[in-house]
């Protein structure tokens, strides 16, 4: 069975948020980014599930940070987009753009 490497909607949004955040990307900033830019309040558990899937696909890597007192002594897990992840985002954008074009109803709304 071929491996599924395409992105779901939440996975795509999380990858884009990760790309914007750079090196300081962990659960809390990602959720704030999704809330501020996409208007979605996504549960942290769902974000981590999406990150787990992305990591299994090889689209992100993670690194455990140092424990901090404001988190009750728990470490942050920082995520970073891999080159494969960036390629997947570009491919998804191309696919969506191709699907988007040539729809008169949507083009009429845009104008």
């Amino acid at each position: 069975m071929p491996k599924r490497n395409y992105l779901g909607e939440l996975e795509l949004m999380v990858l884009l948020a990760l790309s914007r955040l750079g090196d300081d990307a962990y659960g809390v900033p990602i959720s704030k980014e999704l809330l501020n830019l996409a208007g979605r309040e996504v549960a942290l558990g769902s974000i981590y599930a999406a990150l787990d899937r992305l990591q299994q696909k090889g689209f992100v890597t993670s690194l455990l940070g140092d424990p901090t007192p404001e988190r009750g002594g728990r470490a942050k897990r920082y995520f970073r987009v891999t080159p494969a992840g960036l390629r997947a985002v570009r491919m998804t954008r191309t696919a969506l753009t191709n699907l988007w074009s040539g729809i008169p109803l949507l083009e009429g709304r845009r104008s």
Partner: protein, 299 residues
């Protein structure tokens, strides 16, 4: 928010620790605590915890779908066979035997068919399925127990059996890879630190101590004195390799100088600190305890 209010509910934290998958448990709990201390409410925290647990359970079920498939199919067959009179004499064993093909199909679909897993799951299923019906039938009586409760009980029992008996090949592969990387890393560190840190006090006695004692816990050679030596803060694997009487000054035991020219490889193994912390610490290993005696006298 005062000190008491800034602490999230303990029960929720406990649930997070025990009911969520381990991979991102600490990071997720830390994120929730951080957001809570930014001013989120108890209701928000509980909501997030319940969502995290639900998502975690669904993710794990998806990851271990052959076991879930076995449990569902086995439960359906088990409860169906309960209504047939011919199986009344010894229903449990026959129903488990009927559930075994379901496991075989599930494992075949997952390309992970293993006779050992199949047999192990079958044995565990027979063992576990004998316990709850007997206990419940003795205590309450078989006809009083609702059918849904039976279904739930059998399903959970079969799921536990499959979980105990089977292991997905993906996880097993990851374990093997991790183990090999840990061993490789430990060997490299062993070689790196072991060769330059030897120190023998009293160089004039070196000739006498060149051959003996050859083995750990044997006696000193004649006319030699014990050199205060120890392995400081070492892990289990390296400590096991300090079988000869060469001593270390810093962090690792010294042995096998022939490995001096090995090229050191870069290995990323994040589990090394955990392994070393869990392993037995070889503080003050006493090779020279006991009264002095010549090795030849022991032969």
């Amino acid at each position: 928010m005062n000190g008491k209010e800034s602490n999230p509910p303990r029960l929720a934290i406990w649930l997070m620790r025990h009911a969520c998958p381990r991979s991102n448990n600490e990071a997720l709990t830390g994120d929730l605590v951080e957001r809570f201390r930014e001013g989120r409410s108890y209701g928000w925290f509980w909501n997030q915890v319940l969502i995290a647990i639900t998502v975690g359970v669904l993710t794990e079920s998806r990851r271990h779908w052959p076991q879930v498939c076995y449990a569902i199919t086995g439960t359906v067959m088990f409860t169906a066979f309960l209504g047939i009179p011919i199986f009344e004499r010894n229903p449990h064993v026959l129903q488990v035997l009927a559930a075994l093909p379901a496991l075989a199909v599930a494992l075949l679909m997952n390309c992970s068919f293993r006779w050992a897993s199949l047999l192990r799951t079958g044995v565990i299923s027979v063992a576990l399925l004998e316990i709850p019906p007997i206990l419940l039938a003795e205590v309450i009586g078989p006809h009083v127990i609702p059918a849904f409760f039976w279904f739930l009980l059998i399903f959970s029992t079969l799921l536990v059996s499959a979980w105990l008996g089977c292991r997905s090949p993906q996880n097993a592969g990851q374990l093997v890879v991790k183990h090999s990387r840990v061993v490789q890393r430990q060997y490299i560190e062993f070689v790196r630190h072991g060769e330059y840190d030897m120190k023998v006090a009293g160089g004039e006695k070196l000739a006498l101590t060149s051959c003996e004692p050859m083995f750990t816990r044997l006696r000193l050679a004649l006319r030699t004195v014990p050199v205060p030596a120890r392995v400081i803060g070492d892990g289990l694997v390296t400590a096991l390799r300090t079988g000869i009487d060469m001593t270390a000054q810093r962090s690792r035991a010294a042995a096998l100088n022939g490995a001096k020219g090995l090229e050191l490889l870069k290995v990323k193994a994040p589990s090394i600190p955990i392994q070393e912390a869990v392993a037995l610490r070889a503080e003050d290993v006493g090779h020279l305890h006991g009264g002095p005696a010549h090795f030849c006298l022991l032969r």
